[in-house]
């Protein structure tokens, strides 16, 4: 992390990954000393790759994403995007937040506009901006509710606008923190199809956090499975070599799809089974430090 870009590029001459998550440790300070949330997380991502991060809640998936976004600073190690160190947030690493986080006082159009004005204020004129905003809202099928405010549209629609806002920044990497976690199953399936359709068109580099095994297999090129915290790290990486475009219906009977699915399930529920005593009356006492890494 303290290395200069030059030194880093020398070190990485051999790998030169598009996005390099390089040997990351994350320690949160707590009143009782440091709490190591992440230990030696190391991952190289190619341009145009769709990566899912999967793991039990509290394992530090969001922490990884926040470090890539630049919202957190890794305690050790660092992030290289196109061989440049990342140490602050920026629009080239757009984030789709779990609970949409649209500004409630702006319409869908204005929410996207805020991002577009900020990112393209020097390269686009007014007319081009308008076109670009409308293009992105059309991409997520939200052009019919452009001038509605977040409290006037459904949860799925809000998330669509959130995605449109992120896409409109034309990011190098799109970071998605459980984008469909708060949606009902039908809407979620619909959104996944939309996302595949968009991905087909734009071929973005994406890191998506998910809890949903089917979602990860359906959408990703690689599934990164994380061990339980503290000192969480990457447990296994699964290559998904299913042909695109994928359709959930035909995949349901696909042998390879079901093999991958069961691999993820095995990892989550056998190898990394989380011991949670549901029957005991008293809740298991949580470490105070855990609050910090818990996903919202």
């Amino acid at each position: 992390m303290n290395l200069t870009t030059e030194q880093n590029s020398n070190l990485n001459n051999t790998q030169n990954a598009f996005l390099d998550i390089s040997h990351i440790d994350m320690v949160f300070p707590t009143p009782t000393g440091g709490f190591t949330a992440l230990k030696e997380v190391d991952l190289q991502i190619d341009k145009g790759e769709f990566i899912s991060l999967i793991g039990h809640s509290g394992c530090g998936k969001s922490t990884v994403l926040n470090i890539v976004a630049g919202l957190y600073q890794a305690t050790k190690g660092g992030i290289l995007l196109k061989n440049k160190e990342v140490n602050e947030p920026g629009p080239e690493r757009a984030v789709v937040f779990q609970n949409h986080s649209l500004l409630p006082w702006l319409t869908s159009y204005q929410n996207v506009e805020l991002a577009v004005k900020q990112v393209f204020n020097k390269t686009m004129n007014k007319g081009e901006m308008k076109e670009w905003i409308e293009y992105n809202l059309k991409l997520v099928h939200m052009d019919h509710a452009m001038h509605k405010r977040p409290d006037e549209i459904s949860g799925g629609m809000k998330q669509r606008v959130g995605i449109a806002r992120a896409l409109a920044m034309q990011p190098e990497v799109l970071l998605m923190d459980e984008p469909f976690g708060a949606l009902d199953a039908l809407t979620r399936a619909h959104m996944q199809d939309s996302l595949m359709e968009i991905q087909n068109e734009l071929n973005n580099t994406v890191i998506m956090i998910t809890h949903d095994v089917d979602e990860s297999v359906l959408l990703s090129d690689r599934i990164v499975m994380m061990t339980n915290g503290p000192e969480a790290t990457i447990g296994e990486i699964l290559d998904v070599k299913l042909e695109r475009p994928r359709s959930r219906l035909s995949l349901a009977k696909d042998l390879e799809y079901n093999r991958l699915r069961s691999e993820v399930l095995t990892f989550l529920y056998e190898k990394q089974r989380k011991v949670e005593n549901i029957n005991s009356k008293a809740p298991i006492p949580k470490e105070p430090s855990k609050q910090l890494v818990n996903e919202k």
């Binding site: 629009p91 937040f97 986080s101 006082w105 805020l114």
Partner: protein, 299 residues
């Protein structure tokens, strides 16, 4: 139901008023107060007629002198009759608005700054907590002396009594606005702050596009509280500073001690209450107009 309670209240008032005997006569019941309203209005009309008559005489005299001597420079003098009840209401409204605006101009930027900087917040918090509960009556002597010492001018734009009352009002109505604004700003959803960070919004745009709209509901809650405080403080301040408003009216009637004084003071009390209520309504309407979060605007 509402009408019933008002009737019951008026009934109890008039019954109990009859049994209270003060050195200034019987405590005024509703009837006596209503009578005073019309007599206060009559006094206003008479006073205005007097003033008009005065200016008419002045004009005539000047015209006559000008006829005799074309080089005569016309003299004008302001009418110096006493303020009527209506004039005093206007003075009070003007004073409270000025005091409130001065407070808002200081409090809202300060509150935003405190909300953005945890350090400044914890540094200023003790001072605010100590000044907040101070009564206006404690500030007033200090403010009076400071105004007398610093506001020295041969041709003053505003009177000292006005300035003293206004500053006292500002000092007391500052705090609810500072506190509410800073809480509103510091409790903005962290996701929205993250959106701003990802977009790398410059500080000013961040305040303008994210911080201000997000904390408008809390800012207005603070402003409404402050305006209420300001109106209460004003009456006390005017009594002691002798600013010709409703507070001075009450004080003068009390000193006057005629058999009608209590009824006139009671009439002023009713008016003060009504104006306070109306001011709150005005703020509420304003809040409805500017706030995006309609659910935060409740009565």
């Amino acid at each position: 139901m509402r009408k019933l309670f008002i009737t019951v209240f008026l009934f109890i008032w008039s019954i109990s008023a009859q049994s209270i005997h003060t050195s200034l006569g019987e405590f005024p019941g509703p009837n006596a107060v209503v009578k005073q309203f019309s007599s206060l209005y009559d006094e206003h009309v008479t006073e205005r007629e007097k003033a008009d008559a005065f200016y008419l005489r002045l004009e005539k005299r000047n015209a006559a002198k000008l006829e005799k001597d074309p080089n005569y420079v016309a003299k004008t003098r302001a009418y110096t009759g006493k303020e009527t009840f209506l004039d005093q209401i206007i003075t009070s409204l003007f004073t409270v608005t000025c005091g409130f605006l001065v407070a808002a101009i200081i409090a809202i930027p300060l509150g935003i700054w405190m909300g953005l900087s945890q350090r400044l917040n914890s540094a200023l918090n003790p001072i605010i907590q100590i000044f907040k509960p101070v009564s206006p009556l404690a500030w007033l002597p200090l403010v009076t002396m400071i105004v007398s010492a610093l506001y020295v001018s041969d041709d003053p734009m505003v009177s000292k009594s006005f300035l003293t009352s206004m500053i006292t009002v500002s000092l007391c109505s500052l705090w609810p606005m500072v506190i509410n604004t800073s809480i509103g700003v510091s409790s903005i959803d962290s996701d929205l702050i993250n959106v701003s960070k990802v977009l790398r919004l410059p500080a000013l745009t961040h305040i303008q596009k994210i911080v201000l709209p997000a904390s408008i509901p809390m800012i207005f809650t603070g402003m409404r509280l402050s305006f209420g405080v300001a109106w209460m403080v004003l009456i006390a301040a005017e009594m002691l500073a002798q600013n010709p408003g409703l507070g001075k009216f009450v004080w003068d009637e009390f000193q006057n001690g005629s058999s009608e004084s209590l009824a006139r003071i009671m009439a002023a009390v009713v008016v003060i209450g009504f104006i306070g209520f109306l001011l709150d309504r005005v703020m509420l309407q304003l809040q409805r107009r500017v706030s995006w979060d309609k659910s935060s605007v409740n009565v």
